[in-house]
């Protein structure tokens, strides 16, 4: 008995789940990008309007949202490099699984550098 439903193309494991995570993080980042261009466009309205809206980015709830956004960007960026290596490096497909664990390792290191400092800004009262 196959464990997956008959006829499915989805194979699970590192290959599929990194692909799923790449799509999910990509969509999240894209929708934030649309909002972020619109909020930045308020600099053409007035300094007061821009400062009022950007002030909401400095609240604890939004601060946690920014941490999640940066996490999504960092994963998408490093996994994107992995995809480029799978496509263009002769040994890429052979090492795709190892490379995902390298991506996750680099992700942990990058977030360890970013999170304490950002959370200090958000919760440390400047």
């Amino acid at each position: 008995m196959p464990s997956a439903p008959a006829g499915t193309l989805y194979r699970g494991r590192e290959g599929m789940w990194s692909w799923v995570a790449h799509r999910v993080t990509g969509v999240l980042i894209f929708f934030f990008l649309l909002v972020h261009v619109l909020d930045t466009a308020l600099v053409r309205v007035s300094p007061e309007a821009y400062n009022a809206v950007i002030g909401t980015y400095q609240t604890p709830v939004m601060g946690l949202g920014e941490a999640g956004l940066v996490a999504a960007i960092v994963f998408h960026a490093f996994n994107g490099i992995r995809i480029i290596l799978v496509d263009f490096w002769a040994k890429g497909p052979k090492y795709q699984r190892v490379m995902l664990w390298v991506v996750l390792g680099l992700f942990v290191v990058t977030m360890a550098g970013f999170l304490p400092r950002h959370l200090m800004h958000v919760f440390g009262g400047n």
Binding site: V37, L38, P47, N51, E66, I84, H121, V122
Partner: protein
Amino acid sequence: MSSAPAIANPRDSYKRQKSTRSNFELYGWVFMRASGAVLLVLVFGHLFVNLMVGDGVNAIDFAFVGGKWTSPFWQVWDLLMLWLAMIHGTNGVRTIINDYAERPMVRLWLKISLYVAFVVVTVLGTLVVFTFEPCPVGSPADLLPSICFD
């Protein structure tokens, strides 16, 4: 009398039937990889300068943006980042619509919405970077970047 269908010469080499008229998807595939590598540098630089340096997110206000965009370096940086990220993201979401939206009308309207959002946001963002006024007349002095008082 109808003629019998022509029988292909068995010595003819196999010719692949092209299902599309152009190499659009190939160029899209190359663009995602090339722009992705450039965006890694642009976005990481953007995040470092805006969230890590100094007071991080708390330092962002009109004066901060004004201070950055009076420098052509950051104007070009942000403009390039805007265009590459918008095309990269729009092409990514287009791929996802193609994969999951099966009914023709749903596909059509999702793509129309996507392309309208792309044009509106890209044009607006480009205009903002190019027409930005760091020292608007009549605004309180304490909200403006220091270059307004040099």
